[in-house]
């Protein structure tokens, strides 16, 4: 290349600025602007005064936390198990993790309606086993939303975690074993600390994605489990309170970017670059 290469980047840069950066800045501005008074913090003051917003925020944080913890509880053993598989079985397991990753979130969320519904396979099995007389209400409550979110986000945790685990040199573990360490000690003193940066990074990533989740709570919550995104939808499309929507979006964006910065630091350490 004879030039400095900026010409290759310029078209996309212009498009990004016009169609992405400017709208975001405009939206951020709306939260600080009042038609009659100019600069104003009124939308933020309104947020602090309305208990409904705080309740939705609390809901979102709680559901996100539980879904993230469920992800770790299911994802860590899964990735660890995949590491120990033979080549062929491992390829199949990887394919089974990647396929859902690319299937539409709508489809994956919808599938849970079929599985968890009153006549769904889970409830029918529970009834057949005599564990319950009445169908267990899994759908249209927090439980259903949490299950759906944990399911949709699991590949985001498993794939990077698995990638970090297969980079761990088996000889390190053999060295620990040859020095007489029992399996439990090898796991907790050698293996687990080596996976910790990737685990922490994956956990933060999943948590960020949870905070902004929209589709799964809308469908599996049936309108009874509002999260921040669904509140934003209401403020834009139904009530029209654009200033308050802008204020909430700003807060969500700042929180997301802060957690993302922490994620980047951990991810760099996890991938050793």
């Amino acid at each position: 290349m004879r030039s400095n290469g900026f010409g290759f980047v310029a078209p996309l840069l212009v498009l990004m600025i016009v169609a992405f950066n400017v709208p975001i800045i405009y939206m951020l501005g709306l939260g600080f602007w009042d038609k009659s008074r100019g600069f104003s913090l009124a939308p933020y003051e309104a947020l602090a005064d309305a208990p409904v917003y705080l309740r939705v925020l609390g809901n979102t944080l709680r559901i996100s936390l539980i879904a993230t913890l469920a992800n770790v509880a299911i994802g860590y053993p899964l990735a660890h198990w995949m590491r120990g598989l033979g080549n062929r079985a491992r390829m199949i397991a990887i394919a089974l993790v990647i396929l859902p990753f690319w299937v539409s979130i709508l489809v994956r969320t919808y599938a849970w309606i079929v599985v968890l519904g009153n006549a769904g396979i889970v409830n029918r099995s529970l009834q057949w086993l005599g564990l319950t007389e009445e169908p267990v209400p899994f759908l249209y409550n927090e439980l259903g939303v949490t299950i759906g979110m944990a399911n949709v986000l699991l590949p985001f945790l498993v794939l990077p975690l698995f990638a970090a685990m297969i980079r761990i040199d088996d000889r390190l573990l053999q060295a620990a074993a040859s020095l007489g360490a029992p399996a439990r000690t090898i796991f907790w003193k050698v293996y687990f600390p080596l996976t910790l940066p990737a685990l922490a990074a994956g956990t933060l990533l999943v948590f960020i994605l949870c905070l902004g989740f929209y589709i799964t709570p809308a469908i599996l919550g049936g309108g009874r489990v509002p999260m921040i995104s669904n509140l934003l939808d209401t403020l834009i499309n139904q009530i029209p309170r654009w200033d308050q929507a802008a204020a909430i979006s700003t807060i969500l964006l700042v929180v997301t970017l802060l957690i993302f910065a922490a994620y980047r630091r951990l991810d760099r350490r996890a991938s050793g670059t």
Binding site: M1, V9, L13, M16, S104, L106, P160, F187, S249, T256
Partner: protein, 272 residues
């Protein structure tokens, strides 16, 4: 783990298999349900039929939504591929200042929660009168899928030896000649993968589309609206078609990357 007891190993295998079942079973259940003859979502289906596929293909609104989805995905994925591909090349090979900053900006749609991008685009497009327009939809779908193109092609350009290009230039080839005769013949498996990923991404996009599409209906938008109102078994047929489409597209990518001896799909996914 070395030296772990058989019980620990069995427990780990059980936990791992549970994880895989948790990930895949919902998808596997949807497929037989789509061939059910019943209106109620009972599993296993009482008897088999194609009625939900007939409903889907016989409904002009679904067909129009499918056509809209295909057109948007086709145009925006090619635009994302062209702009993102050029930019990925410029970022890897260029020497201008602020490259990290530019790359961060291009990857931003991946980090910014989609709902926020949707609201920003809604407000921005409303301001300039493009809300509910086809142009607005194409713009949004293009920038949203630039990151996946950048991820795949950024790695591909980085791994391609710069000296091969330099040889072509030193022999008097122009940049566009080099691109056509040297770069593309070597990088096309990655280019194809990037295009497929952008296409799937656009075809499945629902949040931004729901906010800014106005009267336009895409398959995911229609599906989402129907799901909020009631559970309609036609969705099961749509879901099965989408699963089949994803499997075929990923299989094509995997096959082409393997033939080219390129990095596997896993590395592609985790490279970001």
């Amino acid at each position: 783990m070395i030296g772990s007891s058989p019980w620990t190993r069995r427990a780990l295998a059980a936990a791992g298999i549970f994880g895989l079942v948790f990930l895949t079973v919902p998808l596997l259940i949807v497929i037989p349900m789509s061939f059910s003859s019943a209106r109620a979502l009972t599993f296993p289906p009482p008897s088999l039929s194609l009625r939900w596929y007939e409903t889907f293909f016989g409904d002009p609104r679904w067909m129009e939504a499918m056509w809209t989805s295909i057109v948007i995905a086709a145009i925006s994925s090619v635009a994302a591929l062209l702009l993102g591909g050029l930019a990925a090349y410029g970022l890897r090979r260029g020497t201008f200042g602020g490259r990290d900053w530019a790359e961060g900006n291009f990857m931003a749609p991946l980090v910014v929660p989609t709902i926020i991008a949707a609201i920003a685009l809604y407000l921005g497009l409303a301001k300039i009168g493009l809300l509910g327009s086809f142009t607005g939809l194409l713009l949004a779908h293009t920038i949203l899928h630039v990151p996946v193109v950048m991820m795949v092609l950024g790695v591909a350009v980085r791994d391609f030896d710069l000296r091969i290009e330099q040889v072509a230039w030193s022999l008097g080839a122009s940049w566009s000649y080099t691109a056509r005769r040297v770069l593309l013949p070597n990088l096309w498996p990655s280019v194809f993968a990037a295009w497929i990923f952008a296409f799937i991404g656009s075809f499945d996009e629902v949040i931004v589309t729901s906010f800014i599409a106005g009267r336009y209906e895409t398959v995911p938008k229609r599906m989402f609206n129907e799901l909020i109102l009631e559970v309609n078994p036609t969705i099961t047929a749509v879901a099965t078609l989408l699963i089949a489409f994803t499997i075929l597209a990923l299989a094509a990518v995997a096959l082409i990357l393997r033939r080219a001896g390129k990095s596997t799909l896993v590395e592609g996914v985790t490279a970001g």
